[in-house]
Symmetry: C2
Subunit: 216 residues, 2 copies
Amino acid sequence: KKQFGVIGLGKFGSAVARHLEKLGYPVLAIDKEMSLVDEIKNDVSFAEVVEATDPEALAAAGIKNCDTVVVAIGDVQSNILVSLVLQELGIKNIIVKAGSKIHGRVLRKIGITDIVFPEEDMGIRVANKIASTNILDYISISKEFDLVEFQATKNLVGKTLKELSLRNRYGITVIAIKHDGEVIVSPQAEQKIEEMDTLFLVGKATDIQKFEKEAT
Amino acid sequence: KKQFGVIGLGKFGSAVARHLEKLGYPVLAIDKEMSLVDEIKNDVSFAEVVEATDPEALAAAGIKNCDTVVVAIGDVQSNILVSLVLQELGIKNIIVKAGSKIHGRVLRKIGITDIVFPEEDMGIRVANKIASTNILDYISISKEFDLVEFQATKNLVGKTLKELSLRNRYGITVIAIKHDGEVIVSPQAEQKIEEMDTLFLVGKATDIQKFEKEAT
Ligand SMILES: Nc1ncnc2c1ncn2[C@@H]1O[C@H](COP(=O)(O)OP(=O)(O)OP(=O)(O)O)[C@@H](O)[C@H]1O
Ligand SMILES: Nc1ncnc2c1ncn2[C@@H]1O[C@H](COP(=O)(O)OP(=O)(O)OP(=O)(O)O)[C@@H](O)[C@H]1O
């Protein structure tokens, strides 16, 4: 069974560690702070206090048993050093949390390809969500398209999906409708939109914005 | 035009502030640290150094012009105090970043309903992503269903969506297929799965897990 390492037990790192265990995978959780290691040790398979910039200490802690290691350290310098050390130790998959685009560029320069920007991505998601009264949630699912949870406006109520014809008019697909608290995935063309319904829409950001303007 | 306030210019707060401006909304960005306010002032409409636990200082900075204020402070105590102060100043929409579930519970107790957990949500997303070799991305879009970007396995290649019949067998909907770098939203039933294709699947977490087990 695959084993995972998580270095850095801040909010992000400890969430990764705990959820991997929840999915049934053994995790080696590491931090230089004993209090954080103590806090997590009942929730993970292995928890060690380690100065992760030290390759020998990492090896002694068993990092080489991990197929994948997540570097969840906030301090940019330590984050980059630890990533380098893991590469030199031959760790196959290294996933690194970056705090800024420039931090990400430095990581890419040293050969790290799996980079995550949790706060930045969530910041953009929250901004998209609060900017529009009708957009309840906004998720970027790939470079090409976004998924939007859209509160039905007056102009939409009473019309069927067929009548709205969002695909032809905007290139947007309604992948689900939430009606009366129940989510209907892949709704039928005859589905009529009711007041308080939520539409889950998939499309390009520009098409979604255009639709949202014209629907309000 | 709606105006937004962002208090706390860490990675999350500054991402919210910058993206709102990018969407065309004026932002009042606040932090007690002058260096962070200086760093952002060219990217936002208003940037002020303010001790946000002080209601008079906040009012003097113009917080009452904001329809919505995002509290992006990490320190739990300050975060809760600032949220309280904003309520007392009569701010209509308050969105607060919480660092843990218990922090979230305290916020709910004082009447804050819009709470975000950026690091925790992203931690879970990354954990889901790395736990499975075939799952390239995993997004929770609502309490009921998740969206998964799934790398086609050998067993799927050469079959059409109609033959796979994922909806009948697992209650999963294929909302898009990425083929040769191109994303096809709402693919036809005759769409044949090729090697290297990625399927975007929507369904309940348990159904997705069941499908993933049987597809590999
Ligand atoms: N060299 C190191 N070896 C081991 N652990 C380290 C090292 N440097 C930093 N850490 C740990 O990484 C953890 C996360 O770092 P930090 O809290 O700075 O990041 P953060 O971005 O604020 O975290 P989050 O947003 O996930 O809460 C800290 O608990 C810290 O002790
Ligand atoms: N009372 C306050 N008034 C104004 N700003 C404050 C106050 N308390 C904290 N801040 C600011 O909030 C910002 C974010 O807080 P902090 O860096 O602790 O959070 P964080 O969770 O690590 O942030 P992120 O993960 O978004 O980078 C800091 O820049 C800090 O100066």
